[in-house]
């Protein structure tokens, strides 16, 4: 395992039976799993190259039980890894051998739906899609739609600040969550936000969202629901060069159009998908755009005409606009099947998630094909083109010695490249363990120390999900120390008046 996890605490492991018994007292019945066989399903998440059995699994059903479990672990110095559905692609829910795996799957109820205020109050174990389904009868939906939406949970979405294909127009999780109930590692229960807008004081909900399970455990979430757009149409647009596709995206935005979705695929991805899904994608293009417009029909038709004109100006060699809902869904079926389609042409693939300033796309694709040759591994690209979020899929075979390591090294180079051109390490999958050791590429030691000081404000003993996000663990006391150099500051030079 190339990424080193924190060393297990032998003293905690020695007390395993005692910890299990204590958890069984808090969560009676079937809520504690301590057998190897029973814990096996929890050994990994969506980043399957990494596996680790937890010390014990606990599946509480009430906020009070979560609070009691955390208070116990805090008092006893036991580490805790929270888990939703375990679909993280960055290893956010990878267990610790000396840690309690806190599964939130039993928090699976929708507590309230309030159409007048356009909010739903849900438990964190409810799946993303279940929220939309629960409000669909009234023509509403929950906007963030990560591709794992059938399985991934709202609690996990909050932890990862999940996005999806519609987030350029409708925002990511943080823009669509209004409140939550949060249990701190001490067992204290706090409410952040509610069904109103904006925080009363510090926007702690904003920082808990995307904190990857390092700051607390969410036991209830108030999400915003939106009226489903009246209509939607998609267009497939093909180009003989990725530059032309990139230019088309830039001009669509410059024309004042923010599409509901704007996706790009490169030739290897197009071919893999078309063979698998037969979505009618052209095979003789280097880049394919899917542009979806949604809203009232007159608006959609009007803007689609403009998109068509822009596409022609940018040298599109293929253009087809959907004329029926079935056709629109077929266009999307290809894109949505991109990962499994790539899975068919390669025994394994590794999905990356950097964001770049969109103008750098041709350069990044060029560098990526050079790296592909250098590492001897193929790569296919799918791309949330509107917001510059790139998903290169590196194809490899885990059964061939050294290929996984090569794929990981290739992936690291891609992410370094993203940062180099002004982008970031992760657009929506999170840092987890996967990109943890690359954090210094993007952040200075002071940047990371400040983030870890914030962690200390929530988790003084560093017990919540340690080993994720931050490459080096510091003790809170050490981070809190101040080094003030009185008299050494050249302050008198500062202009005053």
């Amino acid at each position: 395992m190339p990424v080193a996890m924190p060393q297990s605490d032998a003293a905690v492991l020695a007390r395993r039976a005692e910890v299990v018994a204590a958890l069984e007292r808090i969560v009676p019945g079937e809520g504690v799993i301590a057998s190897e066989q029973g814990m096996r399903p929890y050994e990994s998440d969506g980043l399957t190259a990494y596996r680790q059995l937890p010390m014990v699994v606990v599946l509480p059903e009430t906020t009070e039980q979560v609070a009691a479990v955390l208070a116990y672990c805090h008092r006893e110095g036991v580490r805790v890894v929270p888990r939703g559905a375990g679909t993280s692609l960055s290893g956010g829910a990878l267990p610790l051998g000396d840690g309690v795996l806190l599964g939130m799957a039993k928090f699976n109820r929708i507590r309230a739906i309030d159409f007048a205020n356009r909010v739903a109050v849900v438990e964190p174990g409810v799946t993303n899609l279940a929220v939309s389904n629960a409000v669909a009868h009234a023509g509403f939906y929950y906007a963030p739609d990560p591709s794992s939406q059938i399985a991934c949970t709202i609690g996990g979405n909050v932890a990862e600040n999940s996005g999806g294909v519609h987030c350029l127009k409708y925002g990511v999780t943080t823009n669509n969550v209004l409140g939550c109930e949060l249990v701190l590692v001490t067992g204290e229960i706090v409410r952040l936000g509610g069904d109103h807008l904006d925080a009363a004081g510090y926007d702690l909900l904003g920082v808990v969202t995307g904190s990857e399970g390092l700051l607390g455990v969410v036991t209830e979430v108030t999400v915003r629901i939106l009226k489903k757009p009246e209509s939607a149409r998609a267009a497939l647009i093909g180009f003989t060069a990725s530059e032309h596709g990139g230019e088309c995206v830039a001009r669509i935005i410059a024309a004042g159009i923010i599409p509901g979705g704007m996706e790009m695929m490169d030739r290897p991805a197009i071919h893999a998908v078309e063979e698998f899904v037969h979505a009618g994608y052209p095979l003789d293009v280097e880049a394919l755009l899917i542009v979806e417009l949604d809203g009232p029909r007159p608006e959609v038709d009007h803007l689609l005409e403009r998109v068509n004109a822009i596409a022609q100006q940018c040298g599109a060699v293929f253009y087809r606009a959907s004329t029926s809902e079935d056709e629109r869904l077929l266009f999307w079926a290809g894109r949505k099947a991109a990962f499994p389609a790539v899975g068919r042409i390669s025994p394994d693939y590794y999905c990356m998630d950097g964001t770049i300033p969109r103008a750098k796309l041709p350069f990044v694709l060029q560098r990526m094909s050079e790296l592909s040759a250098q590492y001897g591994l193929r790569v296919a690209n799918v791309f949330h083109a509107g917001d510059g979020n790139l998903h290169p899929l590196i194809l490899y075979d885990a059964n061939k010695p050294g290929e996984l390591d090569r794929a990981e090294a290739f992936g690291s180079d891609i992410l370094r490249l993203c940062v180099e051109v002004g982008g970031v390490l992760t657009g929506e999958h999170g840092v987890g363990i996967e990109k943890r050791d690359l954090m210094p590429v993007m952040f200075s030691e002071d940047d990371l120390n400040q983030q870890q000081r914030l962690k200390c404000a929530f988790d003084d003993k560093g017990l919540l999900n340690p080993g994720k996000v931050f490459p080096t663990l510091h003790r809170c006391a050490e981070l809190g120390r101040m080094h003030v150099h009185a008299g050494r500051v050249a302050f008198p030079d500062l202009p005053r008046f």
């Binding site: 309030d114 205020n117 356009r118 600040n161 996005g163 925002g171 823009n175 706090v190 509610g194 109103h196 807008l197 009363a200 004081g201 510090y202 926007d203 702690l204 904003g206 920082v207 969202t209 904190s211 009226k227 757009p229 009246e230 935005i253 410059a254 004042g256 809203g295 009232p296 007159p298 608006e299 009007h302 964001t355 300033p357 969109r358 103008a359 917001d387 510059g388 002004g422 982008g423 970031v424 390490l425 992760t426 657009g427 999958h429 840092v431 993007m442 002071d446 940047d447 400040q450 000081r453 404000a457 929530f458 996000v469 101040m482 003030v484 150099h485 302050f491 500062l494 202009p495 005053r496």
Partner: protein, 408 residues
């Protein structure tokens, strides 16, 4: 008389804060001071004036981003963004009219530190939702970076969210990156006249839950409406719905909206230019302006669930003789109370606590703001957490100490 420190670059901001730390001094952090009278009245040893850090450093409309030094005037940024047919979609309000200062005197750093927004908040979010990245100096005198320069980023904690609305109590911003979005080609406002607040809230919640896709919904009761030029003569309450977008879409949705709204009352409309002017007045709470008939009144800003807006407003009218203005489909209430020793805090706090939400005392004499909580007091475990968060950035309480709550 406190000292005024006016750094002109990031390094000097760092030096200034280190100087304060070494001498155990507190700093008031200001941009151009347009919101200086919001917050608990407290005393600081020196002023850290960031208006010297000015200038747009990156403007890439096709990438939807703009970076600027924190003291850059908002008006300068809005002009550059508008020249590219874009806007700051969160529609930051101008506190000038309400607080009696000059208009157009905000800085981008102040806008973000106060998490401002405007009528479009219900559709496009607040400053927090458009704040992508920052360079800042913490109360430890250390430089740190938050976020990035791209619109989609989950790398590390989202410190921008925390800095938004922290009122300068965590760090001094030196450079920021915000999202810029295309601005609507046209707009139009549909009016429903003479509704009482409860009916208006029903109409507004119906509109926000419909295909009309309104980008703003506000209710101005008669007392406040008569201070808006357009409605001075009519003497009736005005409920307004804004439609923005391309012309065919606005026309189509206007039809939908009128169909929906006519069940509630007589209709009217404001064409594009009048609509823009009307929403600027709502955004800046002009009916309660410091140079108008409500100048002596205390101003509270209340955020609650829209459907409970009328109930909150009615209770404040009855129990505290408040004049009211409702934005955000009823979820944002501006309440103007007659002067009193406690600014009406006991009544406001109890009404808002019962309905859920929060209330901030925006305009009141300093003597009152030094003894009445300006921000909603937090329950014990949350207050302790906020204090720890504050201390994680500024353990000595150097920056804007005591501005949000005593000790924070």
């Amino acid at each position: 008389m406190s000292e005024n420190l006016k750094p002109c670059d990031h390094a000097e901001v760092e030096e200034a804060i280190r100087w304060a730390l070494s001498g155990d001094k507190t700093l008031e952090v200001v941009g151009r001071g347009s919101k200086r009278s919001i917050g608990r009245a407290a005393q600081w040893d020196a002023t850290l004036d960031l208006s010297g850090l000015s200038g747009i450093t990156l403007c890439e409309p096709a990438e939807l981003v703009l970076s600027a030094k924190a003291g850059t005037p908002l008006a300068e940024i809005e002009a550059v963004v508008a020249a590219n047919n874009q806007e700051l979609a969160f529609e930051p309000m101008d506190y000038g009219p309400l607080l009696g200062g000059a208009t157009d005197s905000a800085t981008i750093g102040g806008v973000l530190a106060a998490n401002l927004s405007g009528p479009r908040r219900i559709k496009a979010g607040a400053a927090r939702d458009h704040f992508l990245g920052a360079s800042a100096v913490s109360g430890r005198g250390e430089t740190f970076k938050a976020g990035g320069r791209v619109v989609k980023n989950v790398t590390g904690y989202d410190l921008c969210k925390l800095l938004a609305g922290s009122w300068g109590t965590l760090a001094a911003l030196t450079e920021v990156t915000v999202k810029t979005l295309p601005r609507a080609e046209t707009e139009e406002t549909v009016l429903a006249l003479d509704l009482d607040p409860a009916t208006a809230v029903k109409a507004m919640t119906a509109a926000t839950g419909s295909f009309a896709d309104v980008s703003a919904a506000a209710h101005v009761p008669a007392a406040a409406a008569k201070r808006l030029a357009e409605f001075a003569a009519a003497g009736s309450a005005v409920t307004a719905f804004r439609l923005e977008g391309v012309a065919p879409s606005v026309a189509h949705r206007k039809g939908l909206l009128e169909e929906l709204a006519k069940a509630f009352g007589a209709l009217g409309a404001l064409p594009a230019e009048a609509s823009r002017e009307f929403w600027r007045a709502i955004r800046d709470v002009k009916p309660f302006a410091a140079d108008g008939p409500a100048s002596a009144r205390i101003i509270w800003r209340i955020s609650t669930a829209p459907s409970r807006g009328a109930e909150v407003g009615n209770a404040l009218a009855e129990r505290a003789q408040a004049e009211l203005l409702y934005d955000w489909a009823g979820g944002l209430i501006w309440a103007a109370l007659p002067p009193s020793d406690d600014a009406g805090a006991i009544v406001v706090r109890s009404v808002v606590a019962a309905a859920g939400g929060h209330a901030t005392l925006i305009r009141a004499p300093a003597a009152i703001r030094s003894k009445v909580d300006v921000f909603t007091p937090e329950a014990a475990p949350l207050a302790a957490l906020s204090k720890r968060v504050r201390e994680s950035f500024d353990p000595r309480g150097v920056l804007n100490a005591g501005r949000m709550w005593a000790g924070i």
